[in-house]
Structures are given as structure tokens and as C-alpha cells.
Amino acid sequence: MTAPLSAPREDKSGFTRDRAMWGAIMLAPYVLVFAVMVVYPVAYGLWLGLNWNSYKALFADPIFLRTVVNTIVFLFVAVNLKFLIALLLSGFFVQQRAWIRIVLVLFILPWAVPSIPTILSFRVMLNPENGMVNQQLFQWFGIMEGPGWLTDPTLAFMCSIFVHIWKSLPFWTLILITGRLAIAQDLYEAASVDGANRWQQFRFITWPSLATLYVTSTMLSMIWTLGDFNSVYLLTGGGPGDLNHVLATLGIRYMRNNNLDLGIASIIVAMPLILPMVFVMVKRLSKGADA
């Protein structure tokens, strides 16, 4: 037991060198993946995006302007509606009841299962002629011709917003539940002793504690919603008549039609929308990392 006592001192510098070497070797696989799959493609994409002619062609495409408007409406409506519902539902789910825990387990299902069978299920269900929704409207209420859920442009657009919310609501509700559970319970006890009602408790305790999380999550959700291809493509394919594209589906459509430059351009035009959010997010995240 005496020998090891003197050994470490000599090993110290050896270990530091060993540490630096293995640190670099072990970080290398990820750095390689990151460089090959993220850095190079993004840099290459930005470089391709310098082609002025693609923007001229893009703005000349009548579908494009409609798509920009759609994207903004989609983002604004879907994200705010989703977070409002998530905020309310998180208040429901934090109630301590055994049966509510079971409801929560079922509620998470849309998030756990793949998009393709479920969104296609929506698609069949909403079929105006023989979909379950309109058939049931006929059987229960005698409505001969139910709404053209996926054939009416406005309705179809609203349906893709709902499908998007259906899919992503569970995740954000869970986040807000966790946020609510982190609030000290004695604050609520003190408030109810002072006779504060539910609304006052929300207004003066819950909201101030959740606000930062709510805003950060909203921004992250906006970025992810912008990248949601499935809700629109699988439900309507951007139709009817290409009226319901968002930038995500339009970009991919250009690309699939061998028009990569237009695909890239249609992403880059979203930069003014993304960059401010990214800037705020990076600031917040780096603050969080230091704390």
C-alpha cells in the first residue's frame, strides 16, 4: 500500500496529456458528424442562396406569395393556440388524482406514435364524401353535404393547423406541467389562506413563475413549427390547388421537382423570421448554461 502513494505525483502530468488526447479522440466522432451533416450542408446552402436569379424566379411564382402568407398565419395561429391550450391543460393535469394520471398517459399518445398512420387517419376521416366525420354528421343530424374539410381551401388549411396541434400539444403540455410542478406549493397555501381566488392565484403566482418558460418554449415551438412538413403534406399535400403550402412543403416541392435553387431560396427568405428568434434563444440558452 505504500507504492501507489508516490506514483500519482509522477503520473499527474502524464494523466493531463492522456486526458487531452482522449478528450479529443472521444469528441471527434460527433464533431465529424456535425461537420458533415450540419455545418457543410448549411454553409453550402447559404452559398447556393447567393444566386439572385432564384429570388426573382421565386417572387414570380404566384404560389410563393400565398405560401408566405400561409406560413405566417400557420405560425401565429398554431403556436399561440397550442400554447394557450397547453397552459390551460397543464393546470388540469397537475391536479393530484389517480384517474387524471391515466388521462395524461393517454393524452401523450399522439406524441409517441409516428405521424404517418395518424395523419393519414385524419385524412381519411375528414374525406368529404365517405369520411367518418361527414358520414356521422349525416347519420346523426341528417346533414346531406357536410363541410368540405379537405376540399375547401380555408377549411383544409385550418385542418392542417389542427393536426399540427394534435401532434405537438402533448409535448408542450408536459413541459408546462413540469414548469408548474416546480412552483413551491406553500405559495398557493399562503395565497388561499389570504383568500385569493383561482384567478388571482394564477395571475400572481402561476403566471409570473411560468412566464419565462412559456415565452422560451413558444419561440422554440415557432422554429419547430416552421419546420413541420408532415402536418401539411400528409393531410392535404399543400392543396387543394397548391393553395395551402407553407414554406416547408413548398421548399421540398421545388427540390423534388429538381429545382434545388428555388428550394434553397424559399428557405432563405424565412431568415428574417428565424434569425431574431434564434438570437433570443441563443442568449437565453447560454445564460441558462452558465447558471
Partner: protein, 278 residues
Amino acid sequence: MKKVLDEGKLLLIAIPVLVWTLLPIYHLFVLSISNQESMLAGKLWPDQPTLQNFQIVFKQQHYYLHNFWLQMFNSFFIAVSTGLITLFVATFAAFAIARLKVKGGRTIMNLALATYLIPAAFLAIPMYKAMGSYGLLNTQASLILAMVALASPYAIWVLKQASDKLPKELDEAAVMDGATSIQLFRLVYLPLMKPSMVVIGIYALLLAWNEYLYAFLLLSSERAVPLAVGLGLFLSADDAPWNLLMAAGLLYAIPPAVIYYMFRKNMVGGLTSGAVKS
């Protein structure tokens, strides 16, 4: 009395929430046991529930389903590979950053997280182009690599958080005993990190299993695509046999749902606590 009223109010919320959540999943199930006729009648419950659709799917007896088992296997192969490779890449990186404190490690982790600030469909377009220049288009390697790139930043971040919680004294004691970095990794770090590694492996596996867009872009040959893309091919038909699609879709959706419920506590805990902290 007040208690009953309270429960009633809660039920008033719970029922619409459950209908909203489960309706499309219920519909998926109903179609999968419907024959063509009751499917086209939009029945709430089929007249004569049948398992025939599953039989057709199992035996691949339809034009769209000729490669069902192969595509199911592809999904499995891609998901498991993504899980394993992500685990390998992320565990190494987290150890280097958290325990070896490699220079610039923190910066790389933060840059990695910036991957999530690029909308998925937007990143897919230049990634497709890059895959073309690497000569990897239409190979499953391209999809696996893409999925590893998407899963790793979060995986590294979660594993780093977990590593930070391990007591420093363990490392110090091991170093005193003359352990090298690699021994530290193998003998001290890996055994302690096992639970977090299971969660991360499953997270990456589910991510890849459920992915549609990247698979749809990067792979095209009918024999190479995972089941998600195989099912998407139904979209090109005007009068697709939706009941068959739904039967196949149900078979495709069950594994992730089961895995998810098996690991529910860890998954939800890990994912949400991570998100809340940032």
C-alpha cells in the same frame, strides 16, 4: 357536494380532451378492421369486424404491400443503428466534455444544440444536396447519419447533465490509483451512466423509427425505404385501399407506443426536465 362538483368539472375537461386525442387513433383502428364496404360508409363501428386486412398485410397480398416485411425490417434496422451509433457518439462526447473537460467541449455542445434552431424541413434540403455530393443518396447510411446528427445534440446534452451529477471524488480516487482516461471511462463512467444511456438510446431509436420527411427525401428505392415511406406511397393512389394502409399503419405504430409506455417515466422525466432547465 363540493367535491362531486369539482370532479364533475374535471371530467368536463377530461372527456373532450380524450375524444380529441383518441379519435384519430380509434379511427385508425376501426378502419383496420373494416372491409371495403363499411370503410366507405364511414361507420363508427364496422358491421362485420374482420382481421382480413391484417392477413393481407402479413402475406403481402397487395400491390402496395409487396415489400411490407422488408420495409418493416428496414425501419427496424435504421432505428436500431441510429440508436446504437447515437449512443456511441454521444456517450464519448459527453464523457470528453463533462469528465475530461476537453478544451472547447462546451462550445461544441452549444453549437450542436443550435442544430435544433434550424427548422427540420429547412435543414433537410441542403442535407439532401450534401448527401448527393457524398454519393450517399438512396443508401440507408444517409438516413442513419442524418438521424444520428439530429439525435446527438440532445443526447450529448442529457448525458452531460447526468455526468455532471456524478461525484467528482470518484474520478479523483481512480486517478490517484493511476487509472488512465480510458480506464476511467470503462470502469467508472460507463457503469454509472447505464440508466441515462438506456433512455438516450431509446430516444434516438424512436426518433428514427417515427421519422418520415428525411426518409422520404433521402431514400427512394422501394426495397430500401422504411415502412413510413412505404405507407406514404399509398398517397399517390386516388382510390387507395385505406383499410389495408391502416392495418399496416397500426402494426407500424404499435412498437414505438409499447416502447414508449415501457420507458414512459424515464423518457418523460428526462425530456421535460431537460427542456425546463434551458
